[in-house]
Amino acid sequence: MNTPIVSARRAGDGSNGARVDMFTDLAKMHLPSPVLTASGCAAAGRELDNYFDITTIGAVVTKSIMLAPRSGRATPRMAETPSGMLNSIGLQGPGVDSFIEHDLAWLNHRGARTIVSIAGGTPEEFGKVAAKLRIAGGVEAIEVNISCPNVSDRGQVFACRAETAAQVIQTVRRNSDIKIPIFAKLSPDVTDIVEIAQSVIAAGATGVSVINTLLGMVMNTSTMRPALAGITGGLSGPAIRPIAVRCVWDIRSAMPDIPIIGMGGIRSGHDALEFILAGANAVSVGTSIFNDPSAPARIHAELAQELGDRGFLRVSDAVGYAHRPHTPTVDSEAQSSDAEWDFITE
């Protein structure tokens, strides 16, 4: 799947980031960066444009849009957890018509590439939102949020079963322009995420976005009740990163050629590189934006540096690099003569 490249150099030896080609082909999109925003952590891009130029990153992935305006859940909606946070927003949003008229229009006027995340309570609702976006145009791709844990009925988490996940994707595919890539956003709260990924690809998804939040819970020990009004919430942030990397790895192992957007607790270029090595073609930055509003631009620069330090000339060469066959090469033999291995050879 990937061309093996030049020898892995020691990290941190100067500004190697500048000469790395960061252009990313994701599905049919040609993006200037593999770094995207994560849905639900960037609203519709406008606020973040104060902190970095949103046209420089790969794309803005919007907060999930539903058919009708939605108030979301009661407060408290958030609790900080070790290296993460729990949220229970409940998909607050203006509805697709207002989104198209105001938010999408602004993103297009600004010149940002937009991946619209859509959500719904039924497959039909997903289909209606997709149909409206098809008429509106100005959309690079659709990310289908079949895995938001913050809905009243857990039965609505379509991504928890292969059949329901496929049903939603089929409906969205039917209602979308054939040229528009569709990404299914998957939940890690399943026994076998590969099975779900295979089923959405079979149903017409172009690729997958992994992972959404994990369902969690925090107690408020003062009130001695659940900390969130919604009782449970979605866990995000660096705490979930190893789970996310594993999910990307498993899906890439099973499906060598599908486009994968990796996400889950990416805080630095180093973290982004982990996802790319595991098989992600692009990465989304989410919760870290709350800590550092310019995180997507910073992570783009750091990732270029990390890739350059390892001798990569193109980010695409690093995609899935950790899957390469484990055979001794000239390089690894050369490494084994390094001073740090002397204690073994002595």
Binding site: N50, Y51, G72, R77, S83, M85, N87, G93, F290, D292
Partner: protein, 288 residues
């Protein structure tokens, strides 16, 4: 129109104890120059490798020009949780990440009207900047600050300097009038023939002040304190039910559309809920 927020690294110049609180002075190049009364900044917690992923929001207490340091901000910290305790232990020359100025400022009157400023606990922090601006405009400024006990009153002496009058209240009577700020409000409003009430403090206090203002047909502006994750308008955590110009209630972000709201526009009794008549509220499912 307030200036666009920016992200800068600030250097801590001073950390001083004040009763139960700490006042932190920090350089904030580009923020302090454009900050307006009632706006806030967020501060990154715990350093680069921290397990605290969320910033904390602090009302801007003062802005100063300190010669070689350029513009600085004073923030009032009430150490309680992990983050605020960490921040209170910072020392001179430590650096912190700052984002600001955030939120909409207090609306200032164009004429020299009579104002009452009410602060509860460290909620008095943003009132100093406000009082100075109001006095510049020739406004009468009557201030009331209250807290549970003397230790938790913030900045009585400083506020006294910029106010026409100052009344202190404590729940336990350890300083000033024994009772709540709303117990003395009527007297102050009558004496000062008040046109506008500005308030910042705990939600329960704000609710009582807003109710008083509505009853007495006085315009009020309240600075709310809602738990925030991002502070910049992207996370939808800090919402509360607000009645819009069109009389429709919406769940509104206090970080970008607040933290200052008209007292008569906040549905105080419904905070922590989504009232059924809210725009986009869940429709009650009727069993068939």
């Amino acid at each position: 129109m307030s200036g666009r927020p920016i992200q800068v690294t600030g250097e801590i110049l001073d950390v001083n104890r004040s009763g139960s609180y700490y006042v932190i002075s920090v350089t904030a190049p580009g923020i302090s120059e454009i900050a307006e009364p009632g706006q806030f900044v967020t501060v990154g917690m715990g350093g680069d490798e921290t397990s605290m992923v969320l910033r904390r929001a602090f009302a801007i207490h003062r802005v100063q020009s300190r010669g070689v340091y350029g513009g600085t901000l004073d923030l009032v910290i009430s150490p309680g949780g992990k983050g605020t305790t960490w921040l209170s232990k910072r020392r001179r020359h430590d650096t912190v990440s700052l984002v600001g100025p955030l939120g909409k400022p207090f609306t200032l009157p164009t004429q020299s009207v009579s104002c009452v400023l009410i602060g509860g606990g460290y909620g008095s922090a943003p009132l100093f900047l406000l009082a100075e601006k109001l006095r510049e405009r020739g406004c009468r400024v009557d201030s009331i600050i209250g807290a549970s006990t003397e230790e938790k009153l913030f900045g009585a002496l400083d506020l006294k300097r910029v106010s026409t009058s100052l009344v202190l209240t404590t729940d336990d009577g350890s300083l000033g009038v024994k009772g709540r700020v709303t117990d003395v409000l009527e007297g102050v409003v009558t004496a000062g023939k008040t046109d506008i009430i500005y308030a910042c403090g705990p939600m329960s206090m704000l609710a009582n002040v807003a109710e008083f203002a509505v009853t007495h047909r006085i315009f009020s502006q309240c600075s709310v304190e809602e738990s925030m994750a991002c502070g910049i308008g992207v996370c939808m955590t800090c919402v509360l039910p607000i009645i819009g110009d069109d009389s429709v209630t919406r769940m509104v972000r206090s970080c970008v559309e607040g933290p200052i709201f008209r007292g008569d526009r906040v549905r105080w009794a419904d905070i922590g809920t989504v009232p059924p008549d809210t725009y986009g509220a869940p429709v009650e499912e009727v069993s068939t």
